[in-house]
């Protein structure tokens, strides 16, 4: 039976004043806690974006629990298999054979042969120096009709080099075969959610006559393969950049990083760079800016001085969003994040100087298990973790920016905040769903 060994948890330093925070790591690293707000995507969700793809995890059974549950919750068990590693595999040194034969066995049992398999190896392969080059060479030789993506479920590397999230986003696009370049096609890559049709980015691309491909919209593997022909890969999420660089190196596709952001000047700069890459005139931002001002003013008229909390799962730019809202009269009281996005240094400095009393809360510090999760007064949260930790049912239920982008994204965000403020949600049931917005979870 578990026994509490300390009656009282010291919660005095749970929050850090933004004015006192260090950049980019405001909290000490240590034991971590996982809150029940589980909407953020994991590697299983992202890899499921490959149409008709099949995932195989090679790992000790105990460590497979999380990914198995994710696949089960997605009702995607038919696209997911495991190879369980036992001690004898380490002692016998047959790890390479185990993977190859295991995959062959799985393939023999699948009712339909998948066009692509994403093979996730794990920490143990890393520790013992499993010859993965040999494994993939043999797999490709033995199953020439199947594409294999080299993926990693390697928590010990979580804080060095590319993160598992970045690695998976990169691995997914290694499945693209070289193709003749199509100067009329562009991709948005590395995002988990489709970018809104009404967004500045999609509208500009479509209005210029380009075909826009996005894995989130592909329904077949053949359709996904069409992405290999696009001459340009656009990324809007920081975690997608490694994928774009890898494709530039391997397929020669140009890359353009135009990050999801909330500062007007940066939005204009992104639009200018996009227009330049597409060789089309850059649109005048004035009408869009005016629409934003109007939308934000309308939202403020409803939300008023109600405290606002933002978390990092809602957007990769929580500081940027906080700054936008604060500059437009909203009362952003707290931000939930564990580390700052390196791209937010300017916003960090601005907020530190102008709004030093904003409270920063970590989401993974064990102390967060014990904090009072009831804000006491009505509070509007942007993001599931902010909703969970403040105990509010008034929240914008989005992850990774929710597909919103540019000035249109700000207008939509203002609308969603108003909607969330006016209509209570069932936070408890909503935030328990893993991989919010993942098509397979519906």
């Amino acid at each position: 039976m578990l026994k509490r060994i300390n009656d009282k948890e010291d919660l005095t330093d749970t929050a850090v004043r933004l004015g006192d925070a260090s950049f980019p790591a405001p909290f000490p690293s240590g034991l971590e806690y996982g809150s029940p707000a589980r909407g953020a995507w994991n590697i299983v969700h992202t890899a499921m974006l490959v149409p008709q793809g099949h995932q195989i995890y090679v790992c000790a059974a105990g460590c497979l629990r999380g990914v198995v549950l994710t696949a089960a919750e997605m009702h995607a068990e038919d696209r997911f298999s495991c190879i369980s590693i036992r001690e004898n595999n380490v002692l016998d040194g047959d790890m390479e054979t185990l993977i190859i034969d295991g995959i062959e066995d799985i393939l023999s049992r699948l009712p339909v042969r998948p066009p692509a398999i994403l093979v996730y190896t794990s920490c143990i392969h890393h520790f013992i120096g499993c010859d993965l080059s040999l494994v993939y060479a043999k797999l490709r030789e033995r199953f020439p009709d199947i594409d294999f993506a080299e993926c990693y479920m390697n928590p010990i590397m979580r804080k060095s080099g590319l993160t598992p999230d970045e690695l998976t986003r990169r691995s997914v696009y290694t499945l693209l075969h070289p193709a003749d370049p199509d100067s009329h096609s562009v991709n948005i890559i590395g995002n988990d959610l489709a970018t809104d049709e009404t967004s500045d980015l999609v509208r500009l691309t479509h209005s210029a006559g380009f075909r826009l491909h996005d894995i989130t919209l592909c329904r077949t593997y053949a359709e996904f393969q069409n992405m290999a022909a696009s001459f340009l890969n656009i990324t809007t999420q920081p975690a997608a950049r490694a994928a774009a660089s890898a494709l530039e190196d391997r397929l020669g596709q140009k890359q353009l990083y135009v990050p999801l952001c909330y500062g007007y000047d940066e939005i204009d700069e992104n639009t200018r760079r996009l227009a330049e890459a597409l060789i089309v005139p850059c649109p005048d931002p004035s009408p869009a800016r005016a629409s934003c001002e109007k939308a934000l003013a309308a939202a403020l008229a409803v939300i008023g001085t109600t405290p606002v909390a933002i978390d990092y799962t809602a957007t990769p730019r929580p500081l940027g969003l906080a700054r936008l809202l604060l500059e437009h009269g909203f009362h952003v009281e707290r931000i939930y994040l564990d580390a700052f996005n390196g791209e937010e240094k300017k916003d960090f400095c601005f907020l530190q100087e102008q709004f030093p009393d904003i409270k920063l809360y970590a989401t993974i510090r064990p102390k967060m298990r014990f904090v009072n999760r009831h804000a006491g007064e009505k509070l509007l949260a942007v993001g599931q973790k902010a909703a969970y930790f403040t105990g509010t049912n008034y929240f914008v239920n989005i992850i990774e920016g929710g597909g919103m982008y540019g000035y249109d994204g700000i207008c939509r965000m203002a609308g969603l905040m108003t909607e969330a403020f006016l209509a209570e949600k069932d936070a408890r049931s909503l935030i328990q769903i893993k991989g919010w917005g993942c098509g397979c979870c519906l």
Partner: protein
């Protein structure tokens, strides 16, 4: 680029032999890189003459990925590019994992592309006791494995074990056995015993080295025999061995 891995029982004289081979190749005008794959990090000491060399794992531990290729190497005598993989704290950690990490880091930092060595020599610790120690045999690393042994039984057992590892990996396309190097300890029936081993493992003795005090004299000076006593008989033996290894590795005269 010719890539060679030299294995053998601990204390058999691998580092001394490999360093003299490196010096002999460099003398001959080849660009040489010597990579010590021993946690003690003393493979290249007679080439660069420093008591301590920062190892790849030292850098990985202290700086994660924030270091340059230049910081991973030291240029030794005759321009030999010296690298020490390093290892964990003695008694702790995993030495095999250390070698894997170091060799991967070298590749990742483009060591072979930047220095463009003609000859790369991996000096590998003792037996092939785990996957980490077989790393230099893998595709992309050494093409040929050479085993150093004396006529002592323990050295012969280790050599047989190494040969078995090479054989086990044959269908994987890993490095092939290039031959046996006899480093004499002047034990009874030494030539005969090593010849028997060679036959058992379907290989051959490609060269031998005499037991000579010149080697210890050079070591006292912190140098290779090639550098310290270039006209000695021992230097001649190392040059002959270098030529034999070169031929066994690529089929050409050096």
């Amino acid at each position: 680029m010719i890539k060679l891995a030299v294995y053998g029982k601990g204390g058999i004289g691998k580092s001394t032999t490999v360093s003299n081979l490196s010096a002999a190749y460099a003398d001959r005008g080849y660009r040489v890189m010597q990579i010590g794959c021993d946690p003690k990090a003393d493979s290249t000491i007679s080439l660069h003459g420093c008591d301590h060399m920062t190892t790849v794992l030292d850098l990985v531990r202290s700086r994660k990925d924030d270091f340059t290729l230049d910081e991973m190497v030291k240029i030794g005598c005759k321009g030999v590019v010296c690298v020490e993989a390093g290892g964990p704290t003695p008694g702790l950690g995993c030495a095999g994992r250390g070698i894997i990490a170091a060799l991967e880091k070298l590749k990742e930092k483009g060591a072979y592309d930047v220095y463009k060595p003609d000859i790369v020599l991996y000096d590998v610790l003792g037996d092939v006791v785990c996957g980490g120690f077989s790393m230099p045999m893998r595709t992309g690393y050494a093409d040929k494995v050479f085993i150093i042994t004396s006529g002592e039984n323990m050295a012969l057992h280790a050599a047989a074990n190494i040969a078995m590892a090479v054989e086990n990996f044959r269908d994987r396309g890993y490095a092939q056995l290039g031959g046996i190097i006899l480093n004499r300890r002047d034990v009874k029936r030494e030539d005969e015993k090593v010849a028997e081993l060679s036959e058992d493992i379907h290989s051959s003795v490609i060269g031998s080295l005499s037991r000579s005090s010149t080697v210890q004299d050079a070591e006292e000076l912190g140098k290779t025999v090639i550098e310290a006593f270039p006209d000695s008989d021992m230097a001649k033996e190392y040059r002959m061995l270098a030529a034999a290894v070169y031929k066994a590795a690529c089929g050409k005269e050096w």
